[in-house]
């Protein structure tokens, strides 16, 4: 299983990262995700990292890159399910994930994407972090 599955969930795409992500897998995920955003016309991407016990600078950078790429394709990225120790480690590493929106769980993530859609317009405001 050399790729992370991307699921369609209403108007959004949904990705659960359960395995250790290396260079190759990260690159495949980015490619697949961008292809799917264009193919499905998705307006939002939910990335669940609740299985991840460790988020290092590599994964942090991958998430930030996915967020930037998606924004260019007019889709908003919300990362959900981050564990408390991961948040602590990220900040200790000096990574604040600029441009990546966070939500506590999938339901809130979907709500956040829904709001972004209904409010509309204000999508290009730059670096939103957590709400």
């Amino acid at each position: 299983m050399a790729r992370i599955p991307i699921l369609k969930l209403g108007n959004n795409l949904f990705v659960t990262v359960q395995v250790d992500v290396d260079d190759q897998l990260a690159s495949t995920l980015q490619d697949d995700l961008m292809t799917q955003i264009v193919a499905t016309g998705a307006k939002g991407v939910l990335i669940d990292i609740s299985s991840m016990e460790i988020v290092d600078s590599f994964l942090g950078r991958m998430l930030a890159q996915i967020a930037s790429m998606s924004r260019i394709l007019d889709a908003e990225v919300v990362v959900v399910g981050m564990r408390p120790p991961v948040a602590i480690t990220l900040v200790e590493l000096g990574l604040s994930l600029p441009g990546v929106r966070m939500a506590l769980n999938v339901d809130r993530g979907i709500a956040m994407l829904g709001e972004a859609l209904t409010v509309g317009g204000g999508r290009d405001g730059g670096d939103h972090v957590a709400g």
Copy 2:
């Protein structure tokens, strides 16, 4: 990562199986899932197997068991995202997954669970396969 994450999605629980499932992991998943059904009061469970390229009799039995256990706890199980070759292999193996409902993708699975809820009552009709 010795467990498969269980996500809450509205009134349903959502599980994506991305890794090879052995005895230990299957047992942990069943335990976790039943605990979560009771804890969250979920009325439905979606199990996504779109990453699985092989579903053998072991995994088939695990899915059927999860469906039976969940039904006892008054939650309906829908398996989504089965690949065509997997369906072919399952039938060739003589496994028709009795009691397990199937849906093509997550959206349809959620719709199916929604219907089961609104129709209500007719939940104990026995072996439904695919719609």
